[in-house]
């Protein structure tokens, strides 16, 4: 992994941490759900950089698609504010 890609790699890891922090801190649940799907998006990109295409595809479909849909449905049935 040459120098340029390793910089991109660490940038995305940093983005991962930032989105995780925002999703934990934010009071509005819908906002933290959106940050969780961003978290999963950056997770997919990191997996691709780590040469793991199968896992990236699974994480994309399950993490970003299915889990976010479930969380949104759960919020629509309960309360949006914390």
């Amino acid at each position: 992994m040459n120098l340029l890609i390793s910089y991109i790699y660490y940038a995305f890891l940093l983005l991962l941490v930032i989105t995780a922090v925002y999703s934990v801190i934010s009071r509005n649940l819908l906002c933290s759900i959106i940050f969780i799907s961003l978290f999963n998006l950056f997770m997919v990109i990191v997996f691709l950089l780590l040469q793991a295409p199968d896992v990236a595809m699974a994480e994309a479909v399950v993490g970003m698609g299915f889990t976010t849909a479930l969380f949104t449905i759960a919020i629509s049935k309960t309360k949006e504010e914390e």
Binding site: M1, Y10, L13, L14, L16, V17, A20, V21, S23, V24, L29, S32, I33, I36, F39, N40, M43, V46, F47, L50, Q51, A52, P53, D54, V55, A58, E59, V62, G63, F66, T67, L70, F71, I73, A74, I75, K77, T78, K79, E82
Partner: protein
């Protein structure tokens, strides 16, 4: 990847903090999701080989990445999804009965 370990542990501490401190049940489910993401990153980052190519054999590879942690992570992702789905289902039923998602409130109402 030594520096990846720092990020893995940072994300895991965020998830654990969210599970322990936040009172809202959906927030706790989010915290567990974040912790699972950290574990997947840990598994994959220790399977990576410097300058390796993905484990699809097209005949021209010099250095292959370790396929076993990827298989383990795939299984763990699917198990994590099933557990999260079950957790959210029961959270919805709890909201229907208790009317709130705050764990202290629930403990008080349960009596």
């Amino acid at each position: 990847m030594k520096p990846t370990l720092i990020f893995v542990l940072l994300i895991m501490s965020l998830g654990l903090y969210c599970v322990l401190v936040k009172d809202n049940l959906i927030k706790k489910a989010l915290g567990i999701n974040i912790m699972e993401g950290a574990v997947f990153l840990f598994l994959i980052s220790y399977g990576y080989r410097q300058g390796g190519s993905p484990p699809i054999l097209t005949g021209s590879e010099t250095n292959i990445v370790d396929p076993v942690p990827q298989a383990l992570t795939l299984t763990a992702i699917v198990i994590g999804a099933a557990t999260t789905a079950l957790m959210l289902g029961i959270i919805i039923k709890i909201y229907k009965i208790y009317g709130t998602l705050d764990t202290n409130e629930i403990r008080r109402l349960r009596g």
